[in-house]
């Protein structure tokens, strides 16, 4: 089984040590050792209750500097990336608006066509005929101009 423990064993040679110990134990009729029993952690308790913290203003400043530097770095990164992000969003927006503009243009063209068809003289003439409109007689026309009386340069 390729577990992490076996991988560590394999790398550190613990398996081989285990084999050697097993051979000796069998010979000496000793109990079988546990794997890695020669490795142990020793914890030494330390009593810091009587210690007094020494003033270290340099460390405090260094800490603040580190924090500020990190913040500045983050802000700089954000500022550096902001135009790209803005471009990206603006690009989507431009694309959407262009699509809308194209749709509006197409609708406008269709409306222009309909309007031109509806206002064509041929259609108006058909409507007039259907409504039985008639052209006025010349005598019914009232010209909006000065009366010809008094004109002296006319040859008629």
């Amino acid at each position: 089984m390729a577990t992490l423990a076996t991988l560590v064993d394999w790398i550190t040679g613990a398996k081989a040590a285990e084999g050697a110990v097993r051979e000796t134990a069998m010979q000496d009729y000793l109990c079988r050792p546990l794997p890695n029993e020669h490795l142990f952690f020793w914890v030494r308790p330390i009593d810091n209750s009587k210690l007094k913290a020494e003033a270290a203003p340099e460390a405090s400043r260094a800490c603040v500097r580190s924090i500020v530097a990190c913040l500045l770095a983050v802000v700089a990164l954000v500022l550096a990336l902001a135009p790209f992000a803005y471009n990206l969003l603006a690009g989507y927006q431009i694309r959407t608006l262009e699509a809308e503009l194209e749709v509006i243009r197409q609708e406008l063209a269709l409306l222009d066509k309909q309007e031109a068809e509806l206002s064509s003289s041929a259609r108006l003439a058909r409507l007039a005929e259907a409504e039985r409109y008639v052209d006025p007689e010349p005598s019914e026309l009232v010209p909006l101009a000065p009366a010809p009386d008094g004109a002296v340069a006319m040859t008629r």
Binding site: I11, N87, A109, A125, L141, A145
Partner: protein, 674 residues
């Protein structure tokens, strides 16, 4: 850890380190292979995947009439295509599409099968669908049917001005009329944009490589309302007299603006050409088909006589016993007119009188004047296929050519040439350049007006005025009485040129019936030229009524002020049979006494753009203020501008103000005070 373990561990660590090194080497090699060896190829692939390039369409410009009515525009339409690889059952798909779009299912199936065999992802089903077809297709709800937006040229006014506007082919390239001659301007130039796209192929960053240049909108001098009337009247007359072809031109004589140009037979530019006969109807008869003008041309002959000889409108011309033998060739009038004043020669369309006047002019000068009037050369109208007509050079004239040419034979002219020639008479002697394009509307909205081309003076103003009065007598008492207008004076000339049969080489009893006239006589607003080919009757009967109806409507639309009292209007009297025959060369005529006193010169303003939305340019009003009655009358008589006088003493006020353009039929009101 015992010392016996060290060699094992070192060896394994070395193996592991070696493995890691090998792995790192493989990675590095792979990187070198990808980043250096295949750099260009992979970079190109990445660019292709991330960067897109699109054409920015440049919509074709509109064509508008002078009032802004749309005569041609492009509208979006949808085209259907399929990816044959996504179609499960090609036979069924072909049947379905064929039934919905009324296509040949067998051919469609073959195309789809070809697409599958050749691994094609795009096969057109039908392009530029109608709205109904598109909605039917969408209602099927099949995801393998895809649509693409395209553009289609439409002509909302149908046949109105179709010969002027022209047509485009399936790809919207102009193939006739202004669509062809202004194709480059109308089409514009598409642009190119490159963009970065995300994983969903949405564009996020754009860079315009080539700026698009949309087609310009073209504003024409054509008035759609007048054009409609012209089409209607020409068609009615052509049908009534069974004429296969005809043409009509309405011109503003002062600046050459073409207000209407109609050609018969008509065609609808929205309909595709289905039969070879359809192509014939697309010929613009007004500019492309010259014909022998016949008696209409007598206007040119007599104008040149007034200019170059001592003949005056009241000069007697001996028309003899009705027959003139010119170098052995007999030329006849319908009647023995005897001695006629020159004015009556035109009114009665006497062949002999006209020839006698031409003989006094002489061949060189007659030829010069024919050319001065613009015959034998293209007018320069921006339409394709214009014919210059035929005017033989002087050295090719025979001994009797002067007789034929004086009557409008042995040469040919287009209806537009005739209209412009009479425009020169109407405007005071300047041959105008035809003006069909008023301006261009750039895509940014800026309107650029087309400058008015200066005409060239071909007649003295006095001659033009005399000719106008002589042509008025044609309408009042000559062959063109059916051209009389209610409320307006009018002048013109009829023409009826017999058409020779090329097989028998004899004249048939069919005519190029024409009428060219203007109204009002003083300061004319319009010139109308009408021609009906292969007419069974004469210009005075066939063409003059068309002039009358078109001119009446055009004057109303243009807002011209009537220049004669409405009470003087008389019902149209059709010309007698004898009067009709007078138009036909080598036929007889009879005389009518002269009536009109000739007026003096009205000097029009030419080669100048009209102010504002005015349709026409008239003479400028002189400054009458401060002058006594006698001086005012003298100035009025000299300039030909009618005045209306009130009071006595010195002229104190006038309306319109000095320098204003006088509209047709308008008078200058002058108030006198001590």
């Amino acid at each position: 850890m015992g010392p016996h373990l060290e060699p094992h561990r070192d060896r394994r660590v070395a193996i592991l380190t070696g493995a890691f090194l090998l792995w790192a080497l493989i990675l590095a090699g792979r990187l070198v292979y990808l980043q250096i060896w295949r750099h260009h190829e992979l970079a190109a692939t990445a660019r292709e995947q991330h960067n897109g390039t699109e054409t920015i369409p440049a919509p074709r410009g509109k064509i508008l009439d002078r009032t802004g009515e749309i005569l041609a525009l492009s509208v979006p339409v949808e085209s259907a295509f399929v990816d044959p690889r996504n179609v499960d059952d090609i036979d069924r798909a072909a049947d379905l599409l064929g039934s919905v779009l009324e296509l040949d299912a067998q051919r469609l199936q073959e195309r789809l099968a070809w697409g599958v065999e050749n691994n094609k992802a795009f096969v057109w089903v039908k392009r530029k669908l109608t709205e109904e077809e598109a909605s039917r297709l969408k209602a099927l709800g099949q995801d393998w049917i895809r649509f693409r937006r395209e553009s289609r040229r439409v002509y909302p006014k149908g046949p109105t001005a179709a010969h002027v506007v022209g047509t485009v082919d399936f790809e919207e390239n102009g193939n006739g009329g202004l669509e062809l001659s202004l194709d480059e301007e109308l089409r514009g130039k598409p642009g190119l944009v490159t963009f970065l796209r995300d994983s969903r192929k949405r564009g996020v960053e754009f860079h315009v490589l080539v700026e698009p240049r949309p087609g310009a909108d073209i504003r024409l001098s054509i008035d759609e309302r007048i054009q409609y009337v012209a089409n209607r009247e020409l068609e009615q007359a052509a049908r009534a007299f069974n004429c296969p072809t005809g043409s009509l031109v309405v011109v503003n004589p002062h600046n050459g603006e073409i207000l209407a140009m109609s050609s018969y037979p008509p065609f609808d530019p929205n309909e595709p050409v289905r039969r070879p006969e359809d192509l014939a109807s697309r010929t613009n008869q007004a500019i492309s088909v010259p014909f022998e003008p016949g008696s209409v041309f007598k206007v040119v002959t007599l104008a040149s006589a007034l200019e170059t000889t001592d003949l005056k409108p009241d000069s007697p011309i001996d028309c003899g016993p009705g027959v003139l033998v010119l170098h052995g060739r007999p030329i006849r009038d319908i009647h023995a007119y005897g001695v006629l004043p020159m004015q009556k020669v035109l009114a009665k369309s006497s062949n002999i009188g006209t020839i006698r006047a031409a003989l006094r002019v002489g061949e060189p000068q007659l030829y010069e004047y024919i050319r001065r009037f613009g015959f034998g050369e293209r007018t320069g109208i921006p339409l394709p296929g214009e014919s210059p007509g035929v005017v033989h050079p002087l050295k090719r004239w025979h001994r009797t050519s002067i007789g034929s040419i004086a009557m409008g034979h042995e040469l040919s002219a287009t209806t537009l040439q005739l209209a412009l020639a009479v425009s020169a008479i109407a405007n005071g002697g300047v041959l105008p350049k035809p003006r069909l394009i008023l301006g261009r509307q750039a895509p940014d909205g800026a309107y650029r007006e087309e400058p008015v081309a200066a005409g060239r003076r071909i007649l003295k103003p006095e001659t033009a005025v005399l000719m106008r009065r002589m042509m008025e007598s044609v309408v009042l008492e000559g062959t063109g009485r059916q051209a009389r207008l209610a409320g307006f004076t009018s002048g013109g000339k009829t023409g009826s040129a017999q058409i020779p049969d090329p097989v028998t080489r004899r004249y048939t009893h069919r005519y190029h019936a024409s009428f060219v006239g203007f109204a009002p006589v003083q300061n004319p607003v319009i010139v109308v030229a009408v021609t009906l080919n292969w007419a069974p009757r004469y210009g005075g009967v066939v063409a003059a009524p068309v002039f009358q109806r078109v001119a009446r409507e055009a004057l109303r639309i243009l807002g011209a002020v009537p220049d004669i009292p409405l009470e003087e209007i008389e019902p149209d009297a059709p010309p007698t049979r004898q009067e009709e025959l007078a138009d036909v060369p080598d036929a007889g005529k009879q005389a009518v006494s002269p009536q009109h006193e000739l007026a003096r010169v009205a000097e029009p303003v030419l080669a100048e753009a009209p102010d504002g939305p005015d349709y026409f340019v008239g003479p400028r009003v002189p400054d009458f203020r401060g002058k006594p009655l006698r001086a005012v009358l003298a100035e009025s008589a000299r300039s030909g501008i009618p005045v209306q006088l009130e009071g006595s003493g010195l002229a104190r006020r006038q309306d319109p103000e000095p320098g204003a353009v006088l509209a047709a039929g308008q008078r200058v009101r002058i108030v006198f005070a001590p």
